[in-house]
Amino acid sequence: MAADPLAGSRHDLRHDLSPDAPEIENYSEGDGAFGYVHSYETGSRLDGPGIRVTLFLSGCPLRCQYCHNPDTWRLKHGTHISLERIVSRLRDFAPALRAMKGGLTLSGGEPLAQPAFSGRIFGAAKGLGLHTALDTSGFFGVRATDLYLENVDLVLLDIKSSDPETYRRVTKQDVEPTLRFAERLAAMGKPVWVRYVLVPGLTDDPANVEGVARFVAPMKNIEWVEVLPFHQLGTFKWQALGLNYELAETPPASKDLVERVHRQFRDAGCNVR
């Protein structure tokens, strides 16, 4: 209904909006004056401090089994849009976000699939006096240069597993880059909230949890470990995209399970919620 290329919310299925876009491995984004965007949402209180605008970029190197936004995997799913338009939209919200001690969170997709574009958005957001957060899997962590991270106040880092095998089963990718990125952030003292998606039968193995907990516990820059219980809200997208959804029968994480995992992180010395 809207002429706005950013129409629709994250909960709407949006795909094939730029059929000519390349796959991320073949993508060269130039100076980042344009990029691919899925959608945005306003008013979140979960994606960083205060109240946020969350912008979902397209393109992701991971193929997580539980992904609730599979329509953000490929650049061609999103809208090709100018940085200028994004910034002008952000400007409409800036006074309200500042008043609520909040800011901008870039999510996706994987914002680091488009480092030039996302870096310039962060730069503009800092110019508007907003707090900035990067929601990332860390797989492309090397692409976030020190200069890039200067405009990022908080990293929401998804560590799905510390065990390479489990990680590969969940995401079809290697865990190494994520762990190295986490260590680099720790060395920099960059504030991080670690996110751990708890999927029964996939990531709930006590040893797996233990591994992540032991890995992050010594890192002083980690303010929170957030355990996110798996839900089925994205199922319809998998079906609509004709993808094989392997978790169709997976139940939501039970209260007891969530409590157990909390305890594991807490016992390791993490601030968990």
Partner: protein, 749 residues
């Protein structure tokens, strides 16, 4: 001399002098208030007596939910003294007084219009009393019949076509708030004395029509005050004298309000701003060890019980507009004083506590006057109460204080007015979306085909042109505004003459500010339609008579509710434009023009009577309520939705801009304290950005759907809709579905 002695006893330990020498409750409050900046820790549970009274009422509530109206006294036109004393449970009632001799027995008030009485009785299978009918159809003219003597054929056509709807021409206009606190602070004798003085000053004025009307009104006011004393005597109280303690202060004030609801079946019968006033008496009694906290809470609980069982006789047509039997016993809490102190008191907390002690309920319509400067403990507590009850509305004190000073209250949903110094002529609303369709069709109604508006040139051609439609819309708005002001003048002339609120006006100063409160519905539909015409392609589709009755819209266009200036500015411009058209026309009694963007539940009825619109809305589909975006179109979260509404200009809608926000209680991993802080920041932000009003619902769609199917499980489920709260199970099925179709945000404030 005796008077002085008694006042001294009643006013012991109170400070300030000005309020003693003149009628000035505001001065009394700021001279004696104890602002409270703490939290809810001190609050007490309901007393045994309160629970006993409340228990006694439950069968009535249950029966009413099934049957509707339980009982009517059809033979006795209601007045201050028409019925003797009535009780719920005499041994346990701490605050007494009923509208008739029985709880839930409704009274008839025929001076508003006989049709309302006959229609209301017929709807429940009762016959009117022949003698009463003869009196009010033969010997005593009513407001309703007078209005129709004055109406033009054009106004009648507008009513019939639903372009102007809900006008108070067949029922009491309401939206007047007597300053009921005066009864407690001064006693009725002093008020009579003051009124007589004001009246005597009129003797030197030449008897123009205006002066004679005022003299006559004041004579009626004096009779009403005398009758109010008699009414209280029936309950064994002498309210000639001021209240001497908290219990009397609550009781005297309630008697003032009771008198008003015995005499006037007004659409909205607000209470005002009484709890912080009560607090002054409670604080004094607590200090003198004459009252405990439990007893203080008991007073407020029992007062609120009375406000929950106000009942009026109304017709099914009326219920369709204002569903769920509302009466807007609006009570304001919070707010700031001009001197920078807060007006939050412990009694504000006690008022909120009734929602816990007695469970949630739509009435009294609790309204938080929100300022950025309110104490944090109070703000957080309000959010907590909203989360638990969905029963609160919030209004912008920082916007209203400069307009109305620090002793104003809200009439109905969103209408601010200085207590005892200002009243309004209520005027429901016009259908702005339909007006746009009239512009397209040269004044013909898109549903009936009838020529209702002036026969201007309809749009020609295959595609709607924005500038052309806008120019035609502007002309049509000018016509509609003129017809609307015309109708309102007729209504309020008649209402003053035949259905004058003698008691409520006796509790005002003689010389008051009057506003004439116009309103618009369908703002988001009109704005989205204009946006479609401007940014997309809209082809009109005509029937065989040339009437445009459908549209083919292709392309994309921005819609209201996403903080997008391209369309939000159109909405703001419509508000300003229509207001300026209203301002051109002289009003009855020189009232100041104001406007609201508010629909109550009438967004359903308005939508029903409006054809297809260029934004893609189908014929009959409900409008967004109040100033809300159309259901589901605010697709980018609550923040974007809020900011669009906050952009609407209060200066051109001083009678209020209603916005309802429903959020789903969600992930609470950050914990209550953090969640409440963010909600407080969100409200500070919304009001700081110029937002005027917010109905805040915290509940899930699933709960509502379950309540539709199993009403017995949810006897007290309360939800806020445009400007008021309703008991959900008492809405019509259609309105329940409308509420469920509204946007629920999962963003979670």
């Amino acid at each position: 001399m005796l008077q002085v002695v008694k006042s001294t006893q009643a006013w012991r330990n109170f400070s300030g002098t000005r309020w003693q020498s003149e009628i000035n409750v505001r001065d009394f409050i700021v001279s004696n208030i104890t602002p409270y900046t703490g939290g809810p820790e001190f609050l007490a549970e309901p007393s045994k007596r309160t629970l006993a009274v409340w228990e006694k009422l439950q069968p009535y509530f249950r029966e009413e939910a099934k049957k509707g109206v339980l009982d009517v006294d059809a033979a006795t036109p209601s007045s201050l003294t028409s019925h003797g004393a009535g009780y719920i449970d005499r041994d346990n009632e701490v605050i007494v007084g009923l509208q008739t001799d029985q709880p839930f027995r409704r009274a008839i008030m025929p001076t508003g219009g006989w049709g309302m009485i006959e229609g209301g009785l017929k709807a429940i299978g009762r016959e009117p009393d022949p003698a009463v009918r003869e009196t009010f159809t033969k010997y005593r003219k009513t407001h309703n019949s007078a209005v129709f003597d004055l109406y033009t054929s054009e106004i009648r056509a507008c009513r019939r076509s639903n372009i102007i709807t809900g006008l108070p021409d067949a029922y009491g206009r309401g939206r007047i708030i007597g300053d009921y606190r005066r009864v407690a602070l001064y006693g009725v004798d002093r008020l009579i004395e003051a009124k007589k003085t004001e009246r005597a000053q009129l003797d030197v004025r030449w008897p123009t029509e205006e002066v004679m009307r005022l003299r006559e009104e004041m004579a009626d006011q004096l009779r009403a005050l005398a009758d109010l004393k008699t009414m209280a005597e029936n309950y064994g109280f002498d309210i000639g004298q001021p209240a001497t303690n908290a219990r009397e202060a609550v009781q005297w004030t309630y008697f003032g309000y009771l008198g008003a609801i015995k005499e006037m079946n007004g659409a909205a019968m607000s209470v005002g701003r009484v709890s912080s006033f009560f607090d002054i008496y409670i604080e004094r009694d607590l200090a003198e060890n004459k009252l405990t906290e439990a007893e203080a809470q008991e007073l407020i609980d029992q007062f609120v019980i009375k406000l929950r069982i106000v009942r009026f006789m109304r017709t099914p047509e009326y219920d369709a507009l204002f569903s769920g039997d509302p009466y807007w016993a609006t009570e304001c809490i919070g707010g700031m004083a001009l001197d920078g102190r807060t007006l939050v008191t412990r009694a504000n907390f006690r008022m909120l506590q009734t929602l816990t002690n007695l469970g949630p309920a739509p009435e009294p319509n609790m309204t938080v006057l929100w300022s950025k400067k309110l104490p944090d403990g109070f703000k957080r507590h309000c959010i907590k109460v909203s989360t638990e009850s969905s029963a609160l509305q919030y209004e912008n004190d920082d916007l209203m204080l400069p307009e109305f000073g620090d002793d104003y209250a809200i009439a109905c949903c969103v209408s601010g007015m200085r207590l005892g110094r200002q009243m309004q002529f209520f005027g429901a609303r016009v259908n702005l979306a339909k007006c746009m369709l009239y512009a397209i069709n040269g004044g013909r109604d898109e549903v009936s085909g009838e020529q209702v508006g002036p026969a201007f040139r309809p749009v020609a051609g295959d595609t709607l042109d924005y500038d052309d439609v806008m120019a035609k819309f502007d002309d049509m708005m000018a016509w509609l505004a003129r017809t609307y002001v015309h109708a309102m003048n007729c209504i309020h002339y008649s209402h003053d003459r035949y259905n004058y609120e003698r008691l409520m006006m006796a509790l005002h100063d003689r010389d008051i500010v009057r506003t004439m409160a116009f309103g618009i519905a369908g703002l988001s539909v009109a704005a989205d339609s204009l946006s479609a015409i401007k940014y997309a392609q809209v082809k009109p589709i005509r029937d065989e008579s040339g009437l445009v009755d459908d549209y083919e819209t292709t392309g994309e266009f921005p819609v209201f509710g996403n903080n997008d200036p391209r369309v939000d500015d159109i909405a703001a411009d419509l508000v300003k434009r229509f207001m300026n058209h209203l301002r051109v026309h002289a009003t009855y009694r020189g009232a100041i023009h104001t406007q609201s963007i508010l629909t109550i539940t009438s967004n359903v009825v308005y939508g029903k009577g409006t054809g297809n619109t260029p934004d893609g809305r189908s014929k009959g589909e409900p409008f967004g309520p109040g100033a809300n975006p159309m259901h589901g179109r605010d697709s980018h979260g609550w923040l974007a939705s809020c900011l669009s509404v906050a952009r609407l200009p209060f200066s051109d809608a001083q009678d209020g801009i209603s916005y309802t926000l429903s959020v789903v209680p969600g992930d609470n991993r950050q914990g209550d304290a953090e969640t409440f802080s963010r909600a407080v920041d969100a409200l500070d932000m919304y009001f700081g950005q110029g937002g005027f009003h917010m109905n805040l619902n915290v509940l899930s769609k699933e709960t509502l759907i379950d309540a539709m199917d199993h009403p017995d499980k949810y006897p007290q489920l309360t939800i806020r809709v445009s400007g008021y709260a309703v008991n959900f199970i008492r809405l019509t099925r259609e309105q329940q579905e409308d509420v469920i179709n509204r946007t629920f945000f999962h963003g979670k404030i």
